[in-house]
């Protein structure tokens, strides 16, 4: 990794072990980067909240990653993937009994630098596409509420492109990848997608919320660009000619979990919690048709805006409703907050919880409060899909042991890019319509279950439960 290093330091009137112990704890406020983590152990998920901007326009930048090295009372190292890729090393040097030099060293990767430049209002111009290259774009969420579940997206897209190129590219031409951040904001998504079109991308993989996806669809409609949403979504599009939506569908997820959850708990009353946009609307509509078929009934429903952090009122409503099962379609940091607050309110003992977006990263950031949550997803890092172990090895060889976990949300992007490359290999300059046809035909021709050959349009699902802090697959759906 080519990187640049910056450092900062201060001297504090505290003993080194006191400073060390404050790291990751709410008591330290915004000091020590507002870090929050459940334990100071190697591999633990960590979230840093950094307030930025002048006082009148204060906002927060959130760094998400894992602790990659810990030396008690002396050092903490964080490998972070969001919003930029890099490493932070904090050292606590003992100067006296209650005097410590606190030093931070930040290593920023090249792609990290690009994010920082964009974020501070700058632009690094993109060179024109060379004739011996084919350019594709990925829109992902490197900041905002969706950043948590998108942590490995950029890495896996890059891995897929590197592998395609190692295998000879597209008919001898190099596949080239541009990655942009939508900041979990549809307006930014639209602007960044326009940038990808102008940069000559032949296809755009929008690994975003459905709101961002809809905004991208609007601004690329007139362009001859294939638009793929490779992450779980509620489906539906105005443009069936050049748009393709892949990944899990909420109706299939709910059907898979509901039957087993009802059988195992005997619960009948369902409470639905989601966000006020198309993804949750679609998911809850599906629940309303599936739940009665299982002799259950929906006893309550709440929609909160994306980016909500206080779920107190929602939890009160759940408690008053007498629900036995809570289904959440919340995503990213909203889901992290909701599940933590549910556990803190003691809901864990009175209701069964199922979640539609309980991927490895979200689960790790919820921590012990995630215990017992059920989900149904098409891919798990440590799941039974053929080739999952090999993919993890290749991934960690490329990005290190502390790269964010692979999840269904990032693996489907990896696989979609591979399938795209194979489908359009012969004619990468074809129009969006024929690229879409080729991708669909290619998928129809494979129909396998292993990594690289899965049917992403209707992916088979696995049932999983969070046990001892990790997602455990216990059955296949259907």
């Amino acid at each position: 990794m080519t990187s640049t290093t910056l450092t900062a330091e201060s001297v504090v009137e505290l003993a080194a072990h006191e400073v060390y112990r404050m790291f990751g704890r709410p008591e330290s406020g915004s000091w020590l980067f507002g870090a929050r983590c459940e334990s100071l152990s190697v591999g633990a998920a960590v979230r840093l909240t950094l307030p930025v901007g002048p006082d009148t326009q204060r906002y927060e930048v959130e760094l998400l990653g894992r602790l990659s090295a810990v030396r008690p009372d002396a050092m903490v190292v964080i490998e972070h993937a969001q919003p930029w890729r890099g490493r932070l090393k904090l050292t606590f040097e003992k100067l006296g009994r209650s005097r410590t030099r606190l030093r931070v060293r930040a290593d920023v990767s090249n792609s990290g630098l690009e994010w920082l430049v964009r974020h501070t209002g700058g632009v690094l111009s993109v060179p024109p596409v060379r004739p011996d290259a084919v350019r594709i774009g990925v829109v992902t969420s490197k900041s905002g509420p969706a950043a948590i579940y998108s942590m490995a997206t950029e890495y896996l897209a890059e891995l897929a492109v590197d592998e395609v190129n190692r295998d000879g590219g597209l008919d001898g031409r190099r596949l080239e990848l541009l990655v942009v951040d939508d900041a979990t904001d549809p307006e930014v998504a639209a602007a960044e997608a326009r940038r990808l079109v102008r940069a000559g991308c032949r296809a755009i993989f929008a690994c975003t919320t459905s709101s961002s996806f809809a905004a991208i669809e609007d601004v690329t409609r007139a362009d001859d660009v294939l638009l793929v949403q490779p992450v779980m979504n509620e489906r539906g599009t105005h443009d069936t000619a050049s748009v393709l939506r892949l990944g899990e569908q909420p109706s299939a997820q709910i059907e898979a979990v509901a039957r087993r959850l009802v059988q195992s708990t005997g619960g009948r009353g369902w409470y639905l919690v989601g966000e006020g946009y198309s993804w949750s609307y679609g998911a809850h509509e599906a629940a309303r048709s599936v739940v009665p078929a299982m002799r259950g009934r929906v006893v309550g429903e709440t929609f909160t805006p994306l980016g909500t952090s206080d779920f107190g009122p929602v939890i009160e409503k759940i408690q008053r409703s007498g629900a036995e099962i809570v289904m959440s379609s919340l995503v990213g940091s909203d889901e992290v907050e909701f599940q933590r607050q549910c556990a803190a309110a003691g809901l864990r003992s009175s209701v069964s919880r199922m979640s539609l977006v309980m991927d490895e990263s979200t689960c790790a950031h919820i921590g012990s409060a995630a215990e017992g949550i059920w989900t149904a997803l098409a891919y798990f890092q440590d799941g039974p899909a053929t080739g999952a172990g090999e993919l993890l090895t290749r991934y960690q060889d490329a990005y290190g042991r502390w790269a964010p976990p692979i999840s269904t949300l990032s693996e489907t992007v990896y696989e979609a890019i591979h399938q795209y490359a194979q489908a359009v290999r012969r004619d990468p300059d074809a129009g969006a319509r024929s690229q879409r046809r080729a991708l669909l035909q290619h998928r129809g021709g494979r129909g396998g279950t292993g990594v690289g050959a899965r049917d992403l349009l209707v992916p088979p699902l696995y049932l999983a439960e969070v046990r001892a802090g990790a997602l455990h697959v216990f059955d296949e759906a259907g």
Binding site: G53, T120, A191
Partner: protein, 129 residues
């Protein structure tokens, strides 16, 4: 990437934190559009920019360009009666590193609230178990 070497040389010694200028450049939608257009189009005149950015007049574009030049995001080149604008890559990278340096400095600086907490280490030990 040669900009990295440049910045590495400049900033190893640390910088005075001033993220306000960069933040001003970012905070306005029209300015973000101007920067995006310059990022795609290389060198453009104020008239060409007004066309690409849309919705605003040429004089509005000119006043935004002044702000962008002051903050170091954009550079101006004069040729005869024409003025051409382009993205100042070095300036952009410099701003990005200033921004990060500011974040790092804030993260290690002990604020008074945390200091009050840290003054009672016994209680704290108890919490950590």
């Amino acid at each position: 990437m040669n900009v990295l070497t440049l910045i590495d040389g400049c900033y190893r010694g640390g910088v005075t934190v001033n993220e306000n200028l960069a933040f001003d450049a970012l905070s306005d939608r029209v300015r973000r559009r101007i920067l995006a257009a310059l990022g795609d189009g290389g060198e453009l005149t104020a008239g060409q920019l007004a066309e690409r950015v849309g919705v605003v007049s040429r004089s509005t574009v000119s006043s935004h360009l002044r702000i962008l030049r002051t903050s170091g995001a954009v550079i101006e080149r004069r040729e005869g009666r024409h003025r051409y604008y382009s993205v100042d890559t070095e300036g952009s990278v410099r701003d990005a590193f200033r921004f990060l340096q500011g974040l790092l400095q804030d993260g290690v600086r002990l604020d008074s609230g945390a200091a009050a907490q840290a003054d009672s280490p016994d209680e704290f030990h108890h919490d950590t178990g």
